[in-house]
Amino acid sequence: MKKFINWVVSGWMLILFFVGFFLFWEYSIPLFDIPRYILPAPSEIVSKGSADLDKLIYYTGVTGLETVLGYIIALVLGLGFGIAISFSSILRRTLYPFFVSIEMTPKIAFAPLFISWFGFGLMPKVIIVVLVCFFPIVLNAILAFNSLSNELTLFYKSTGASTLKTFFKIRLPAALPQCFVGFKYAAINATVGATIAEFIGSDKGLGFYISIVTGNMRPDLAFAGIFFLTCLGLSVFGFVTMMEKILIPWHISMKRINK
């Protein structure tokens, strides 16, 4: 009961903050005499944006597909390479330092190259999303699979269990919390990658839309596009967070108790 009250109190405060924020935005436009082509009022963003709704929804689908496809590919590759590197000392001495050094380069800098290699279609965007998502996933997976406690390692060795059995019963579940740190970070990166890829070269998608309407001096529509992008990003991140709650409920409850 106390928890519920706390939730309502903090929830209301957040809602109140947002209402206040948008009210301030709405009324500061006439108050400070801000021109519409610089910053439109929220009400104008809604009314102008809803006229373009069909396009915005379609483009959200386009960008969403790039984001989700890229993210899933990065997830599979990142987890696969992460596990392989954790279990192979040869890969740990070759691929791992290679990945760490690539992590230092801003991956988005490759975007123009990919566009020039693969054209304006879906593929270069997906590749760029994979690129920005892969590294946080693989590096966190390596960290995760290498941080099993000494005691647990000795314990499973003393049982004589097979590598496969210990993997599924101990190593994998023990690694999941740290893996999810990477998954979540990558989920935030994913929409960023897709948007920038569309800025550079595309004929559809929210990134394309935002760059076109901004060029046409329509910040109201740009904000509408940003709103849809935010929704997309939130859904991807929300889905990953939900998966974390489903797959490792024990980890969430542990954090709660430790607080």
Binding site: L154, S158, T159, A161, K169, I170, P173, H251, N258
Partner: protein, 255 residues
């Protein structure tokens, strides 16, 4: 009695060249079936290293360990092992953690349900079978870990300072639980500790290890009848044992 475990001239050296650290040995120890042997020594003397070598979880630099005349080469699997930091996993309940031992060994869970219940009852954890480790106190966790180490009826139980992080009262309670279970099942126990009282109260024999590199200073047979309840600690004989061990360690300047 025949020697169940024979440890001969065992030495462990970590690293090589200038980084070489002589961690343990040489030491020769013989242990009979059903003995409760404490390995007592100051921290850093290599007593945990000795235990890991006995379990086959760490290679020795020289010397050998034999169980019933069989040389230990890789990890021994007919053992139960317990550490200061327990091996309970946070995603399984107490009962499921005990079952983990069985699952990893490919044993049939159904055959052990009654034993699990009995073990939990013997350490007063029967009401906590379905709780997760993080919902338990440190002492309860160690008791659950003890059940995990014992469920498959190992002939040898290796305990590496299992009570190290617990408060005095909890230690007292768990000591009694250990003793009770040991007296029922009579496994051979190697108990690594730095508590003199604990060693004297629990063991049939205490092996005193010198500061690093750990060598055997002497062995003391504790001739007190079991079960040894906590009032045994006020008996003159007990106090004599404790004092004589203290004198040894005072000689080395560790206390």
């Amino acid at each position: 009695m025949k020697n169940f475990i024979e440890i001969s001239e065992l030495i462990k050296v970590f690293g090589s060249g200038r980084d070489e650290v002589h961690a343990f040995g040489p030491a020769t120890i013989n242990i009979s079936t059903g003995e409760f042997v404490s390995i007592l020594g100051p921290s850093g003397c290599g007593k945990s290293t000795l235990m890991l070598m006995v379990a086959g979880l760490l290679n020795s630099t020289s010397g050998k360990v034999e169980f019933e005349n069989k040389l230990v080469k890789g990890p021994k699997t007919d053992i139960g092992i317990m550490f200061q930091d327990n091996t309970l996993v946070p995603w399984r309940t107490v009962k499921e953690n005990i079952e983990l031992q069985l699952e990893l060994r490919g044993l049939n869970l159904k055959d052990y349900q009654e034993q699990i219940d009995n073990l939990l009852k013997s350490v007063s954890l029967e009401d906590f079978a379905d709780r997760f480790p993080n919902e338990l106190s440190g002492g309860m966790q160690q008791r659950a870990a003890f059940c995990q180490a014992m469920i498959h009826d190992p002939k040898i139980i290796l305990l590496d300072e299992p009570l190290g992080k617990l408060d005095a009262m909890t230690r007292e309670k768990i000591r009694a639980d250990f003793q009770k279970l040991w007296m029922i099942k009579k496994p051979t126990v190697i108990f690594v500790t730095h508590s003199i009282e604990e060693a004297v109260q629990l063991s049939s024999r205490v092996i005193l290890i010198t500061p690093r590199p750990g060598k055997i200073d002497r062995e003391i047979i504790i001739d007190l009848p079991y079960p040894r309840e906590s009032k045994v600690k006020r008996s003159p004989k007990f106090i004599k044992y404790v004092n004589s061990i203290q004198e040894v360690f005072q000689k080395y300047g560790v206390i």
